[in-house]
């Protein structure tokens, strides 16, 4: 499903003395099957923006088109319900939403609510528990007995059980240890590659952007200030610093080398694999002369 923001504006508590314009004149497109990262300083409007993707917020001005559906300030709440089945939304700390007695009961909650029979819902829950690689011995346990990383997987499986076409992720690795973070990020990568899910990732972690995203949108003070491929966005370290954004570790490292006379002909590399490869070419190339 393609998603298009067209001159989107959003104001909290409009018409009151507390009115606060969080987004203005936001226009960009998220292609179907893309992996789009939305980055920006704290308070830049990232969370407000993605809450438009499943109708938690409606535009104050402008439109959001998601697949066939166009959402404006006049869209009825009933029409937004359709959207919620197509767009799965993984909030920050999604494990805070777990509530059922067992892992499988928690995962099948959404399919049961969407009218599947108990048997079908159980089937879906089992498929999704497998998709997020929850070991079978925890399926009948209380989700609250599991580790933080496993609880998060249960919550994600519950969202996947709605069979969304788009998965919106708001800081999905916050609070996990490095191993847990790597596992969750490769899970999304697999869903993206194998099931063609469109992924929208909100993150502060530029390494994740470099490793996984194929499209980056940079927000600042509620407007889009950058929109392109990761290599384009990360090509200008000074610009990123000016916008209070970090660089991926590799890009920051390569930038230091560039200032000491190394030449990267195709722009600054994004991952350590790319950097090591380019360095090897330069260093070995020299030996042959």
């Amino acid at each position: 499903m393609q998603i298009t923001f067209e001159k989107l504006g959003f104001t909290y508590q409009p018409g009151t003395p507390l009115a606060f314009t969080a987004l203005k004149d936001v226009s960009f497109t998220i292609a179907e099957h893309s992996y789009t990262a939305i980055v920006g300083h704290t308070g830049s409007g990232k969370s407000t923006l993605i809450q438009h993707l499943n109708g938690l917020l409606k535009p104050t001005t402008g439109t959001v088109q998601i697949g066939e559906q166009v959402i404006t300030s006049a869209t009825s709440n009933k029409d937004l319900n359709k959207l919620r089945r197509k767009v799965g939304y993984v909030f920050q700390f999604p494990e805070a939403q777990l509530f059922e007695e067992t892992v499988l009961k928690d995962i099948e909650f959404a399919p049961l609510n969407f009218g599947y029979s108990p048997k079908e819902a159980r089937q879906i829950a089992i498929e999704q528990a497998q998709a997020v690689q929850l070991p079978t011995d925890v399926w009948e346990k209380s989700p609250f007995e599991l580790s933080g990383g496993q609880m998060r997987r249960v919550a994600i499986a519950g969202i996947l059980a709605m069979k969304p076409e788009v998965l919106v992720l708001d800081e999905p690795t916050a609070g996990l240890d490095p191993q847990g973070s790597r596992e969750i990020m490769s899970l999304f990568q697999r869903l993206h590659q194998e099931q063609g899910l469109t992924i929208v990732l909100v993150t502060h972690n530029m390494n994740d952007v470099a490793d996984y995203a194929d499209h980056v949108v940079v927000l600042e003070k509620g407007t889009v200030v950058g929109d392109g491929q990761p290599r384009e966005i990360f090509a200008d370290p000074q610009w990123l610093t000016d916008h209070h954004l970090g660089l991926p570790q590799t890009t920051a490292f390569a930038y230091q080398l560039q200032q000491r006379g190394f030449v990267f002909t195709e722009g600054l590399p994004l991952t350590e694999k790319q950097l090591a490869h380019e360095l090897a070419m330069m260093l070995k190339g020299g030996n042959n002369q």
Partner: protein
């Protein structure tokens, strides 16, 4: 200098778990030292510092803080020596303005109002937040909130400050900000214990302890710990960038030095190699 914290033969067992979390664990920390404690989720890092602060009671073993055993009788004196900064600053605010919040910890000490005011101002200066006295803490950035939380701890004049994943919920700028502040506090002579997954934070410490499987699995300088890359990955930790890059260079047939290099050291080494060609 002397030992500020001494843990001897600690055994701790959560009642609902089959295995003890710690089995005869020992650890001592010198006054003024900055110790990073790293380990995967569930390895017991937070439990250990809660035992040191007397928030949890061990089944066996003794803990001394500044020479005093941690016992129910001593607990209040012990807690005056130890300040804790937690992961989520939002869970720590109680007051409508920064000033009131920083003062809150002192309310129970029966201090004069003037003394309290003096300590609040002094603490806010130390964390560079003196311009935010009247601000609503909930409207500050993550890094600013943590600085306010640290100021609250400083008013109690602790000897030891424990940072329990205090940088993990901050954005990169906020994180750098707090690491800088920790460096400053370390220079002023506070004993710091950082529980962290963040390699930049651990790299600043004098000493890194790795907790795994209920034991201190490694205890050494950051440089020595970081040189053991494979072991770190196995424990669910992040590996310093220079070590990961060395690994990739090896794959590409480039000989790399064995010892741990900081990022700057790595840049220098690559430049030297480059200029020879």
């Amino acid at each position: 200098m002397g030992k500020i914290i001494e843990v001897k033969d600690l055994t701790f067992h959560y009642p609902d778990q089959k295995e003890p979390l710690f089995d005869q664990l020992s650890l001592s920390i010198e006054r003024g030292q900055w110790v990073a404690i790293i380990g995967h989720n569930g390895s017991g890092k937070s439990t250990l510092v809660r035992i040191i602060d007397g928030l949890l009671a061990p089944q066996a073993g003794t803990i001394f803080v500044d020479g005093m055993p941690v016992t129910p009788e001593n607990i209040w004196q012990i807690r005056e020596k130890i300040g804790m900064v937690f992961q989520n600053p939002d869970n720590q605010f109680v007051s409508a303005d920064v000033e009131g919040d920083v003062a809150f910890g002192m309310e129970n000490l029966g201090l004069d109002r003037d003394v309290m005011k003096y300590r609040v101002d002094q603490a806010l200066r130390k964390v560079n937040m003196e311009d935010f006295k009247g601000h609503d803490p909930s409207r500050l950035s993550g890094g600013q909130k943590q600085r306010v939380a640290i100021a609250g701890v400083l008013t109690l004049r602790p000897d030891v400050i424990i940072f329990d994943e205090a940088t993990s919920m901050l954005d990169p700028e906020g994180r750098q900000d707090i690491i800088k502040l920790m460096t400053k506090l370390h220079k002023k002579g506070y004993t710091l214990i950082s529980i962290t997954h963040n390699i930049d934070e651990a790299a600043m410490a004098d000493r890194v302890c790795v907790i795994d499987d209920g034991k201190i699995a490694a205890d050494s300088s950051p440089a020595e710990i970081f040189a053991q890359e494979k072991e770190l990955i196995a424990m669910g930790l992040d590996v310093p960038y220079s070590e990961r890059l060395k690994d990739e260079l090896l794959h590409n047939g480039i000989e790399v030095p064995h010892e741990y290099l900081t990022e700057k050291g790595m840049v220098d080494w690559l430049c030297k190699l480059h200029s020879k060609n």
